[in-house]
Symmetry: C2
Subunit: 545 residues, 2 copies
């Protein structure tokens, strides 16, 4: 968070001095999770929110537009001698007890009194507590209004020390030293490699997840690739030829664009580890996100190399350009039948939500396999080959598989289970959160639901009484194409809290169009790697009396 802050503040200072370069700074400061400058920058972030209408978040541009305009305003207006704070001081003010401080540019605000009045809800403002507002304003253009800036000005208590240096925490020998800067809203499960998820209250705020808070699942350091020299190697074999494709070569294939939800096999693992210890990152409900992806279809690229669908079982193996110190790269594979099926829409994607892929999401090219577990969507794609066997990578053969609850690390036989490809039906509650207190009267319950294999979500049942009675939630989001429902549905339910109720045991469960359902409880699907955690999602909340 300190690093982000530094980038923001120095960006703004430069903007003050060098008024000729605001748009460059805008990208740098606002995208925050990517230091690479796109070749063909598209600063408008856009996505459809529903089948009937649409919304546009001009986040990246407008968010910083607000920041720059406000900063300009303050440069001219305020000439008092303000009280000076360090970033460390600010970062220690994150609760009602200590006071809740935030910064915008180099100004410091105490918003303790305002948190409860925040129109987007206290929890969203709390995400910025102790740090800069800019990354959040960049996501939510609604803040770009003069009355918001005026309101904030009332809470100003001082300014950041302009002389403060950011301590150098990264050593050059650290293989992760070159990783990109990330958005401070992300809940970090591991720094090296970087793994993080958006907080629930932001996850379902938009049907299309903004790039900066899209969940990130890295297995290795993020490579820093030069788009001019980047080449994708498509390996030839009997009856096919090898290809070496530059980015421009890939752009020449028909551009195919689809909305696809990605989910890590470990999403909601933290619930499984409460049953019994598992090996893996403690993902909560956020290892899932949705983007609009564009790129060349894998079937078109394979066809150009002369590959055909064959009668015998075959696999398309992918290798990333991320590697560990021994040179081992990330790898995975999918069946050739899926790769060659135009209806499966497997992409070699170079755009995410209208922008070049962020570094954390595979710049310049990643695989997107609609309806399939995230682990097969290989990032920083370097090599594609057609093989008679699945990828020999650790992640294909010794990970991302499901086992019976009775199997432990002494008895596991990884060859006995198939690699996870299509995922089962899943859903979770994002609002309210476990342990929260809700008002009596009416409560709004929100969440997401998704199923693998292109199966549409047809219903989400919600219970407020621990599963005794159920109500069907309202489903929102893009219309789902038959057999190609690659993206989630967001859902919500306005429910009445019965008078005198002290607490609610809220549950959600989804049904897909094969009428598959989620299992009731976690223990019977427990597995040693903590994958496929798809039991009913349960949230316990208190009701304010």
């Amino acid at each position: 968070m300190l690093l982000i802050h530094k980038a923001m503040v120095s960006g703004l200072r430069q903007a003050c001095r060098l008024r000729s370069t605001p748009s460059r700074l805008c990208i740098r400061a606002c995208s925050t999770n990517d230091s690479f400058q796109p070749q063909r920058p598209s600063l408008t972030f856009s996505g459809d929110n529903s089948g009937t209408g649409g919304w546009r978040v001009m986040g990246t541009l407008l968010g910083l537009g607000a920041v720059l305009a406000y900063h300009d305003h303050r440069c001219r207006a305020a000439q008092e001698s303000p009280r000076i704070y360090t970033k460390e001081e600010v970062s220690s003010h994150t609760s009602p007890e200590t006071g809740i401080w935030v910064t915008l540019g180099y100004e410091v605000f105490d918003v303790t009194e305002f948190v409860g009045l925040h129109p987007g809800g206290p929890s969203k403002l709390m995400l910025a507590a102790g740090g800069p507002l800019e990354p959040f304003w960049a996501l939510y253009a609604v803040h770009n209004q003069s009355h918001v800036r005026e309101l904030l000005a009332q809470y100003k208590i001082g300014e950041l020390n302009p002389e403060e240096k950011v301590p150098s925490t990264l050593e050059t020998s650290d293989p992760y030293a070159d990783d990109p800067i990330r958005h401070p809203a992300l809940k970090v499960n591991s720094q090296r490699p970087f793994n993080a998820e958006p907080p629930p209250e932001l996850l379902t705020e938009n049907y299309i997840t903004p790039n900066p808070i899209f969940f990130t699942r890295n297995h290795l350091p993020v490579p820093n690739l030069d788009p001019d020299t980047y080449r994708l190697h498509v390996v030839g074999g009997p009856g096919s030829k090898s290809l070496s494709l530059s980015l421009d070569d890939l752009y020449k294939f028909p551009k195919h664009e689809i909305t696809v939800t990605l989910q890590c096999a470990g999403n909601r693992r933290s619930e499984m580890s409460q049953v019994k210890e598992v090996k893996g990152l403690e993902w909560r409900t956020g290892a899932i996100s949705t983007a609009r992806w564009a790129g060349a279809r894998l079937c078109d690229v394979l066809a150009q190399a002369g590959h055909k669908l064959c009668e015998t079982e075959a696999h398309v193996c992918f290798e990333g350009l991320d590697s560990d110190p021994t040179g081992t790269t990330y790898g995975a594979s999918i069946p050739l039948a899926r790769a060659m099926d135009p209806e499966a829409e497997v992409l070699l994607a170079y755009e995410m939500n209208g922008q070049p892929l962020p570094r954390d999401h595979g710049f310049p090219v990643r695989v997107v396999v609609p309806g399939v577990v995230g682990a097969r969507h290989v990032k920083w794609l370097g090599r594609v080959s057609v093989e008679t066997e699945e990828s020999y990578s650790h992640w294909q053969r010794r990970d991302y598989k499901g086992f019976s609850p009775s199997v432990d690390w002494d008895t596991v036989d990884f060859d006995s289970a198939p690699s996870i490809q299509e995922l089962p039906v899943q859903s979770a509650i994002t609002e309210p959160q476990d342990g929260e207190t809700v008002e009596s009267g009416e409560v709004t319950i929100k969440g997401y639901a998704w199923s693998g294999g292109g199966r549409a979500v047809i219903r989400v049942d919600v219970s407020l009484d621990g599963g005794l009675t159920w109500q069907a939630a309202e489903l929102n989001g893009e219309e789902q194409r038959p057999r190609k429902a690659w993206a989630w549905r967001l859902w919500q339910l306005q429910a009445t809290v019965p008078a005198g109720q002290k607490e609610l045991n809220i549950i959600c469960k989804a049904v897909d169009d094969s009428y598959n359902v989620q299992p009731d409880t976690v223990a019977p699907i427990w597995n040693l790697r903590g994958v496929l955690s798809t039991a009913w999602h349960r949230v316990h909340v208190h009701v304010a009396s």
Copy 2:
């Protein structure tokens, strides 16, 4: 059962008098559920039982071969004046208390003492209690051995009255009067229309379900169709032409043969109605069976009519030749995308396990839609058309849909749910049965598992302690093709019963290759029509001390 008996006995008597026509009688007496004579009769019933080996049941031929040979033997041997019984007397002896009687030809046997010694298990012999053995011996050729016949002779107590007439229970005005004769092992859930399932202990005896005990789900009287005048009408439209296809025309299309499991949406409904009343037949675990189907691919027939896959959503509507007194025929539809996909292998089937379709299973032509609910496999197929909307039939629009447990008959909106097509993952225990007593030491648990949409079953977990611990069962049956696993797996587990255990709470649950699982309990998936009953299957048994 009395009717069957009459057919058997009269068939045998004729065999005794008219020795020149045994093979004709053989078909008549043994197939028992079909009075039509196949044009190209194939009397050998065969099917593969596993990926490595195979078995052959020469049931139809050998079963009656045994009967005829035995009858011949008895005709020559026994000249005493036997005690004479009516069929009604025999039928009242079905328990250890009354004595357990069976017949073979016109001889009557009291097998009360033998039941416990039956090598196939007491429960299988008990299926024939009070009636003829022939239909069972026809299924299990192992009985065609002289020592079996000698053994049985020891239990003879008399003969059936040769003068006895079968009371005419059917009136000619009964629309069901012309329904075929059925196998007595079938557990009948409704006579008019006829709906029946095989008993659990026979269901998983063979990977391929023998035709006579394949579960039967009729909605209307069984039509009696003349194969010579039969025509299938394929309706033309813009860009396509109408076809009128005779059976011979259908035989000219490439013959496609696949093993497919059919399951009724109401399978295991009886468990759901224990939670709360539902409307529907009380199917136990037997509304599922597997056969080897052969016929023309629907995509080939539609292509000949000039139909093509179109960009907009379309449906292939099927109409049966079964109808009610008002002329309403059975109807259903599937999406055109599935119908036109050669990989989906939708058949217009005219053979079932190497024989012409039995009348109860759609003679002469039915639809087989692999991976999809039984309701879409329209029998006695008369008409195929491509429409922009789903079939308007009751069974497509006002039935065979799933709803939330909170929806009742006052609130149901049938348009709010999609018609069931692919079914979710399912499994059940067939041995031991609920309430049985098993020996201490080792217990064998058997069952089936299947999933819709061509998804393979990858694991079946079995618990003996109500779900606290689980063991993976051994999976048997044909190898499952990726994305085309249309047929079930049979499974079994040899488990040790802990010493001192008084009872076992046995549970099974299956996992498919999308890692979909079954829900733990029935109540949260309860729905007013009692369909999609796929919760863990639970069996409570006592342990003999």
